[in-house]
């Protein structure tokens, strides 16, 4: 029995000592790094953030990007620091950055916390909707001393979106089915930013509001929703025409669906529409072209 008491006492003492000695104190390193207004070594932790940084003209200052940052092509030349889903903190530190731009989500939150505790300056942005994007770009501009360029970029985006809005106001909204995955069949629901893009392009999601963010749907729901246009984003940057051929043969069996009957099946560049970034305008335009080819000179 005695040995159990000894163990209990030792355990309590261990925990107590730990709580006293080891309060998180990562203060030492902070003073050495002066957060400046014009960081010289920037690391981007997401592909859309990379695009934003490049759009602000910061290409020489970017020292590290994630592996999936493939646009603009110059980004592919930079050092990689892991992927968007799995950042590699060691690679980030090895690049001696003075600003790290990240997105707010679980995996990167841990990264951000650790880096902040070590004294690095991190900028964490939440970009899940179009509005968020319009707040984020100025924030990045402010942190990097490029507020002017940020305004320019925003201006350009707004102009493009206004042009599209003009072309589609007053017209009936086109019913769109946005197919994210074919096997099993999943579509983008109303609770996604893709839905926002669709609406900005003058369309309407054929699927009603669902509990699922990307609901799996069955054949009868497709027929019931009667979409006029079916869009499939091509994730693997491959041969778009070839993928369209495959899509046509897949959807061929849904002859009662208006989109299939009228041949309104489109396969578009996935990156353009899956990233909330400076190419938002182009993305919406691409969608709008699918919805109203006649209006956009297809």
């Amino acid at each position: 029995m005695r040995k159990w008491w000894i163990l209990l006492v030792a355990f309590t003492a261990w925990i107590g000592l730990g709580c006293i000695w080891l309060q998180p104190r990562y203060v030492e390193a902070v003073s050495e790094r002066q957060p400046s207004d014009t960081p010289e070594r920037i690391v981007s932790m997401a592909p859309n953030l990379t695009e934003i940084l490049f759009a602000l003209g910061l290409d020489e200052k970017i020292v590290g990007v994630t592996q999936d940052s493939d646009y603009p092509p110059a980004a592919a030349q930079k050092h990689t620091v892991g992927t968007f889903w799995q950042p590699n903190i060691e690679a980030v530190i090895a690049l001696k950055p003075d600003l790290i731009v990240t997105l707010i989500f679980e995996q990167q939150r841990n990264l951000t916390e650790r880096l902040t505790r070590m004294g690095y300056k991190c900028l964490a942005l939440d970009i899940s909707t179009v509005d968020d994007l319009f707040t984020a770009i100025p924030a990045v501009g402010a942190a990097t001393g490029r507020s002017q360029q940020a305004e320019q970029v925003l201006g350009g985006m707004r102009a493009r979106m206004a042009a599209i809005r003009e072309a589609v106001t007053g017209k009936n909204r086109v019913r769109v089915l946005w197919v994210v995955q074919r096997d099993p069949l999943r579509v983008a629901g109303r609770n996604t930013f893709i839905n926002e893009l669709i609406e900005l392009a003058g369309g309407e999601n054929a699927v009603g509001s669902t509990l699922h963010v990307y609901p799996p749907v069955g054949g009868e729901q497709i027929i019931a929703s009667a979409p006029q246009v079916i869009i499939e984003p091509a994730m693997i940057g491959g041969d778009l025409p070839a993928q369209r051929v495959k899509a046509v043969s897949y959807w061929g069996k849904y002859t009662t669906v208006p989109a299939v009957a009228n041949g309104r099946l489109y396969v578009i560049d996935g990156d353009l529409v899956s990233r909330l970034g400076p190419r938002l305008g182009e993305g919406i335009e691409a969608i709008a072209k699918c919805l109203r080819p006649e209006a956009f000179g297809e």
């Binding site: 163990l7 998180p24 590699n88 530190i93 090895a94 995996q107």
Partner: protein, 332 residues
């Protein structure tokens, strides 16, 4: 003594693995940084703030899972038991998934809610399984196992449903948690975790002679003077607690709790006075090596540790089976 030798091996392995990683760091540069020179010293930072905590975390989780696996294999008298068999995996998974998808942003003393929810989920599930199992009458092993299977299935279904309604990033975060990963933690968490696991392992060591007798035959154990129900309850609780700590720190890392006790038993025999300490140390070593491999193989990306443990663990175990035939009686 064998335990001391393996402990030394563990320390050596941990040190070596700290120096291995996706970035080349030199020990000299890192050591210079201890005295805090002016310029930023990435080598030092990587070593001390990233690698060492991670290696320590891997050791803690590995030791916890291996010790719990050993105890459960003895209690359930089943060499194929692992720490997750009684519903802990799905309970912790459910807790973590709820935390991630619920998007809770409050923190408990700065700890992410995921760990706390996972811990609570794990313990809650064990309690549930215990209660359901007891309905079949006193600590009846079959009843517990069945209850564990049922609870596992039920919670897994809920997890699947939650995953299907999750947003993209939450989905990914959940999947990653479920595959097991070592995220770096701060030293206080490591200190407490190490304390809990060490206390658990030592307690199980105290119970080792009784575990020997119980794993032999519970009825005989009773007539040899062992309070079987009490020992079973205590050992079971300690295993559950230790596993919950491990799971809340690193997600679900499979294979360690099953293979390591097995392997050590094949080599050293089923005496739990040796088995408990040595398999925890071996579990720690195994997971440190696996985590290092996970960091390095596809650098700069990282594999989830659970994948690596399975890939390393499987063939390694097969080799052990073939070469060490000492105690293979149960293979018949």
């Amino acid at each position: 003594m064998r335990t001391a030798a393996t402990a030394v091996m563990l320390v050596v392995v941990m040190l070596v693995c700290s120096l291995v990683g996706s970035e080349q760091i030199s020990l000299k540069t890192a050591m210079a940084g201890i005295h805090g020179s002016g310029s930023p010293n990435p080598d030092y930072e990587i070593l001390v703030h990233i690698r060492v905590p991670r290696v320590i975390l891997a050791a803690i989780v590995g030791a916890a899972l291996a010790a719990a696996g050993t105890a459960l294999q003895a209690l359930l008298r089943n060499p194929l038991a692992d720490p997750y068999i009684l519903g802990i995996s799905s309970g912790a998974g459910l807790g973590a998934t709820l935390a991630i998808i619920g998007g809770f942003s409050w923190t408990l003393w700065g700890r992410s809610p995921v760990a706390v929810f996972a811990f609570a989920g794990a313990l809650g599930t064990v309690w549930l399984v215990w209660v359901v199992g007891r309905v079949t009458g006193k600590f009846h092993v079959t009843g517990l196992l069945l209850a564990g299977v049922v609870v596992n299935a039920f919670f897994s279904a809920i997890i699947m449903f939650l995953i299907s309604i999750a947003k993209g990033q939450q989905l990914h975060a959940t999947m990653f948690w479920l595959m097991g990963n070592m995220a770096e933690e701060d030293f206080l968490v490591l200190w407490i975790g190490a304390g809990c696991v060490a206390a658990g392992v030592i307690s199980l060591y105290f119970l080792a002679p009784q575990l020997n007798a119980i794993s032999f035959d519970p009825a005989d154990a009773r007539s040899m003077g062992i309070h079987v129900e009490k020992v079973q309850l205590v050992a079971f609780t300690i295993s559950a607690f230790v596993t919950a700590v491990a799971v809340s720190l690193s997600g679900l890392v499979g294979f360690v709790g099953l293979v390591v006790p097995h392997g050590v038993r094949l080599v050293l025999g089923p005496d739990h006075r040796q088995l408990v300490p040595i398999s925890s140390i071996c579990g720690a070593m195994f997971l440190v090596v696996a985590d290092t491999a996970a960091r390095v193989i596809v650098a700069p990306a990282q594999l989830p540790v659970g994948v690596v443990t399975a890939i390393i663990g499987g063939p390694f175990f097969l080799i052990l089976l073939v070469r060490y035939n000492r105690k293979v009686s149960w293979l018949r």
